[in-house]
């Protein structure tokens, strides 16, 4: 059976709610102090991390780390900023 990301998050919440309604006060306080991160947060975090990594790799392969002045050849900078027409 396939579960959606949000269904998974609901499951986690349901489990947390169930554990917090437990008759044992000690168990309840332990659970409340360490809430679990929902599954969808982990999935979203991984996707965002992969996207950031892709952008960083592109930056590194461009040999610039985001600095245009370093990454662009001098003649291109002259064209772009110096007003030289070809």
């Amino acid at each position: 059976m396939k579960k959606s990301v949000f269904q998974g998050a609901r499951d986690v919440d349901t489990r947390m709610a169930a554990s917090s309604s437990n008759s044992s006060t000690r168990v309840r306080s332990d659970r409340a102090s360490t809430p679990r991160i929902p599954r969808w947060v982990i999935v979203f975090g991984i996707i965002i991390l992969l996207l950031v990594l892709t952008v960083v790799i592109i930056e590194i392969t461009n040999n610039g780390m985001g600095d245009v002045q370093m990454s662009a050849p001098r003649h291109l900078l002259t064209i772009a900023y110096g007003g030289q027409a070809l």
Partner: protein
């Protein structure tokens, strides 16, 4: 610090319009970046990079800041808060990062537009920079679609800070309830004593 329902709706409307507008502008930017990288028509490539600069400075950058600001107002002025729910926190972190990334890349956009303004030679554009425009705008588009989904679905999940706040509120309301019950009991006992005197 809760806003009135009218003000809350105004803030939310502004936030939705600006955020979806930002997404649309990034989609347009990606289309132009793809044309700029793949087209063999020098005039089309020039037009694309010149248009990209205008879209970036006059639509994407202002929309990113207004989206961030209106999101802050909407979250701080409602029960959602800024750090209480994972979906709000994730939106805040990603929007801030995307705005920062955008500002970093405006230099590259300016440079490509500068080349386009002065030459029509296709080989003058650095391929790495063209690729960077496509990849970053594509990644931003994916992230903005995810954020829109988060805002619509509002998936459950409270942060540690949010749970602590909720517990405090519950304790506060429980103390108020107990005090009210005690006061009612005293009043009832007083009335009972007065009747039987």
């Amino acid at each position: 610090m809760n806003m009135t329902p009218g003000l809350r709706k105004v803030a939310l409307t502004v936030h939705v319009i600006i955020s979806v507008g930002w997404l649309g502008a990034v989609a347009g930017f990606l289309a132009l970046a793809l044309v700029g990288m793949t087209s063999q028509d020098p005039q089309l490539v020039r037009a694309s990079y010149l248009a990209m600069k205008l879209i970036a400075w006059f639509v994407i950058v202002p929309f990113a800041f207004v989206s961030l600001g209106s999101g802050l107002v909407s979250s701080l002025g409602t029960k959602w808060g800024l750090f209480r729910y994972y979906w709000v926190l994730l939106k805040l972190v990603v929007t801030t990062s995307a705005t920062f990334l955008l500002l970093v890349h405006t230099q590259s956009i300016d440079m490509l537009a500068g080349i386009a303004a002065r030459t029509s030679v296709l080989g003058a554009y650095p391929f790495g920079m063209q690729l960077k425009m496509v990849v970053t705008s594509g990644a931003t588009l994916v992230v903005l679609i995810m954020l829109t989904g988060l805002a619509v679905y509002k998936p459950r999940g409270m942060t540690w800070y949010g749970q602590r706040k909720q517990d405090k509120q519950r304790q506060g309301s429980a103390a108020v309830d107990a005090a009210t019950d005690q006061a009612q009991e005293i009043v009832q006992n007083g009335a009972h004593t007065a009747i039987f005197k």
